[in-house]
Amino acid sequence: MNTSHQRWLLEQLPQWEREGILTADAARTLRERNAVDDSQPGVAQIVMGALGALLIGTGLIAVIGFNWDDFSRPVRLLFAFLPLLLTQLFSFRVLQRGAASAPWVRETAALLQALATGACIALVSQIYNLGGDWPDFLFWWCMLSLPLVWVLRSHAVAIFYLIAIAIWSVNQVEQGKPWFDSPLLYPLLLLGLLPYWPGWKNPAALSLSVRWVMTISAIVGFCSAAVFVSARSGDSYGYNDQSFLWLWTLTAAALALFPLSQSGMEEPTRRKPQVLLGSLWLLGYGVAATFRDVSDDVLKGAAHALQLPWCWGLLTALGVFVLLAAACKRWAVLAIASVALLPLITIPFVENKNAYDSALLSWLVTLHLAAIGITLIVLEFAGKKGAPRLGASLLSVLIIARMADSHFSLLAKGFAFIGVGMAFLAFNILMSRQLKKKQAAAV
């Protein structure tokens, strides 16, 4: 239940109490369980505050962009530092007022200060005709803005920071760069947000928008690092795509298994973008790996990636996440994430041969995905929390993929597709009826 649902529920409670639908005790319990934290800014407040700050900041940058070369250097430098000073004083006042400041004012102050910082650096480099690439500028801008996320708890600056470090990481994928100027720095940059995360003297959960941006930023940052470490060695230029594709899959598995608190585990999957996006990649990768050609590439890529320290770092993190997930009984996510590790089981059996026998991996992935699909359906019928429709969809996609890869005649494939389609629809009808029965029984 999100905050707007909880607010609606809390608004209804007095009337329900008056009408005798709820007892006073039941209403109190509901109030306690659905308490809304009003210290968090509402979406509309953030958007309005952020838009105002963005317009002012962008206006400032555009004024700077005009280049007032009729003024002397000291005057132009004053233009750069005056907005910075004013926004710093504004933030200081907001910080001084503490909880008395409205959340949207805090957001606006932080964003204005971040933009004034960027404008100041831009104007100084304009005045002195400084060169340099814009990713470097972006890097220093977001570094100087990061403390505002901690002290003013600004969602808008956090989102700016997450987007900036992701863009920076993509731009640093270039062969021959030192590690400290490459996407390998991304994990450290992400850790920079640690004091902002829940659990660090901050019980409030991250908003859904920050979660999505953080997940997408992490995907972009870690995938850039995977591409960077997959650079071909020696004189050859380019990247080993087979290798980084498997590293991306390990990243997806680590994201899906990222440790969650008890309340995090109880939330619906749509509020956990890391689980949603990680699982989607893993299932797509799994279905693709059922094809012989793809599984051949996966094996080659995994064998090469295992020589890279980055891969071993990912595997270590994944190992820790697997243990924690097993302790929390997150079996469904564990089952999906294990698809990423199947090449490790296959490699010892094929490595001694000159050519990779991709049939073994192809069959292993097929059986594994089929087992996941069946388990997701069976769990539901066994009265436990399953995902029957996801299970049925997975089985259908798997059958279609296998049929497409087979040497059967078009007629046989056509009948098979029709059969799968009909079975899928019948299953959907069965599940709908069962849901109606459950709802009727509950009433």
Partner: protein
Amino acid sequence: MKTLSFLIFGIAVLAQWAAPLSQIWTHEQVLAKGTLIKLKCSAPDPYDPLRGRYLAVRPTESEVAVPAGLKLTRGMQVYAVLTTGTDGFATLSSLSLTPPASGDYLRLKTGYVYNDKASIDWPFDRFYVNEKLAPEADKWLAENIRSAKGISAEVRVLNGRAVLEDLSFDGKPFREILKARVK
């Protein structure tokens, strides 16, 4: 907790001032005490979304001979001695990994290294111009692109650092030429 917040905020404020101020200090030193050199260059007119219109300054000298015995790879920091010719323009000579004991020199980064030659990344690559003058710069460049006189970059150099002070054409400051055309 509040003290910690103020402490972090104070450090952030200091850093936000220190970053641009250190740039200003370094570049003011070079402008005040540096030697003025001239480099032949070209200057097309692109745009930076944050810093406005600028002329992309490209010194014509883009490669330097690598001395025998010096192993260079891409992205290495090197020092190049500046030698002024009879025409008044400076050129790069004798690359080394350490700063030379005397004379004017530049700290540069190497690009590709091949056939005993190294391409170099100049420490300046843009000259910002007023938005009103930028369209005129476009027209002027189109008209004079084939001129034998060429554009020269006036650069101040101090302890390996360089600050682009002005662009000139036939001895006249570039901005003055453009301003005269706008009038």
